[in-house]
Symmetry: C2
Subunit: 340 residues, 2 copies
């Protein structure tokens, strides 16, 4: 049996393409196609396993039942987890997801947005590089449905889903202070991303709250592409000096795991010599030595919220204002900070 097309089904049943199309799209009743004919069509289609060409369908309906997902890196555990929930939720609603990684390159990201638009995706979910204002403005102007997550553009009104980065680091920094740590380092990425900025602020705010003067040298900014070696340098500075820190907050999971790797290599005792905590986590953080205290992000809610907001926009629900969601993080206390 070869491939069936709409016209074959119509011919076979002696009805018009219109009739078949209407029935298959659930518009049989409203178009007064008799129950007999509807049954005839439905059972034939089921039996012969006819499935419409989505390209043709998309072309004529002006939509593709596809949503685009643009993230920095599908191989990163955080994004792959979010991608998993987005994909699952999308499928429940009949959407397929087209994904691409920008690898933090704004140009690539811009091209991806364009490419996805050409492919007629019905909406976009983006964890942006935050360096594509033009594209974002373009999407807004065109009223194209999109939702940002993880990273957003604070100077633009858009729909977005993020976590409370500020309070996340604030909480964990206070946790360290509460355990008597006084010299707290902060290892983070070079500025440019909103969540990273807010995590830094949370750290500063916690210190201020305890009347601790922030030591500039305690904040280390890492170039992401070279984080492996730069974390090592940073930690040597923080730990092997006259005034070593007694705790370190890492602003991402990979900085933290590399940090722990380096500290082991330097034979620094965690948490005795220095406590460490991570913003965001790795599934193995509970079995590393010592288990790493982490600010965990509600991955599932992030994905669900993003899809929900996007689908409501695709459905064209009238919106007076942008939908934004700031989700709470959870502090998962493990052994890497020691006890009081």
């Amino acid at each position: 049996m070869k491939k069936l097309y709409l016209k074959d089904v119509a011919k076979e049943l002696n009805v018009s393409k219109t009739a078949v199309s209407l029935v298959l799209n659930g518009k049989g009743d409203e178009n007064k196609i008799s129950q007999e004919t509807q049954q005839k069509i439905i059972s034939f289609v089921k039996e012969h396993n006819y499935i419409p060409n989505q390209l043709a369908r998309g072309l004529s309906r002006g939509k593709s039942e596809t949503i685009g997902l643009i993230i920095p890196n599908i191989s990163d555990t955080f994004y792959s987890k979010v991608a998993g929930v987005i994909e699952r939720k999308a499928k429940e609603k009949g959407y397929t997801v087209l994904f691409s990684s920008s690898y933090e390159d704004p140009k690539t990201e811009g091209e991806l947005i364009q490419s996805m638009l050409n492919r007629q995706v019905d909406g976009l979910i983006i964890a942006s590089t935050q360096k594509n204002k033009k594209e974002i403005e373009f999407l807004k102007k065109e009223k194209f449905p999109f939702v940002l997550f993880d990273r957003f553009y604070p100077e633009h009104d858009t729909d977005y889903v993020i976590v409370d980065n500020f309070y996340g680091t604030k909480k964990v920094t206070e946790h360290l202070l509460g355990l008597g740590r006084k010299h707290i380092g902060f290892v983070t990425l070079k500025p440019g991303l909103e969540p990273i900025a807010q995590r830094l602020q949370g750290y500063h705010n916690a210190l201020q709250g305890h009347n601790i003067v922030a030591n500039h040298d305690y904040v280390k900014e890492i170039k992401r592409e070279e984080y492996f070696s730069e974390v090592e340098e940073a930690l040597k500075d923080l730990v092997l000096c006259k005034q070593p820190v007694d705790a370190i907050v890492f602003s991402t999971h990979y900085l933290a795991s590399q940090g722990l790797r380096v500290l082991k290599k330097l034979k620094v005792k965690v948490p005795d010599d220095v406590a460490i905590v991570s913003f965001d986590e790795l599934s193995a953080f509970d079995i590393v030595e010592p288990p790493v205290t982490a600010v965990v992000q509600p991955v599932k809610e992030i994905g669900c919220s993003a899809i929900e907001i996007l689908l409501s926009k695709i459905a064209g629900e009238v919106q007076t204002k942008f939908q934004t969601k700031v989700l709470k993080t959870k502090l998962e206390i493990r052994g890497s900070c020691g006890n009081k």
Copy 2:
């Protein structure tokens, strides 16, 4: 400025749609479109940023420049890494990837294959549940380009990319034997997947090679959906009994990490009381305690080979036989087996 279509470009420049289309597809010369006209078209298009609708393009050309990726779970670090390399390589060649997870459900997988075909993907890369022979036969019969990876159908000739699972576990089991471990347990998934079967065989083969009679009770088969609790039960059996094992091979990374978690909980000393090794790894395996010796899979080569084979099939290169690739694993020795 609103959206530009091919006809707008044509009208604006006083040429036919045909001319514009030919030029944009690099067929200007062979169709004797004058250099002037070609230049005119190209610069207009560049300036006004016209980009063709891929659905229309796909519909009329019968291809979509999209490849479908069907994997068990995008959130699993192994698959998300492979997905990353596939996506990157695909983009280099002008393809976008549509992905979906089957969550190990054959029915879902079958639907995904159908759905991707309707979406006119040009080819498929599948890490199959191995329970969809019908679909696979269908794809073969239709001569639809597809490549399997990680899991394949040994009873069907297809193109596939796998790793040498047999030799991987054989090697690591011999490593344990070489360190003087004699009572080696094997914690694996319930049968049904080829790589899992081969890993088990590798283990048996290594034991045989050392004239050790395999103890049936030492092989524990876990139901994947409940691996968290079942690994715990299995380990209690293996470790807290009259004849406890002195080493355990785990056949996947998540079994291994859960195994380590449980052993810690049971206060079993690794590697003193029992050595452990994992097939496949987690990026944090070098910082867990103890660092876990693992059989690492060449993720990058897996992805690259899969795409390469697929693209060669899409290009329609004449093939006398199926392209299969069995890649080597690497034994990464860490602390979880102790020393001699």
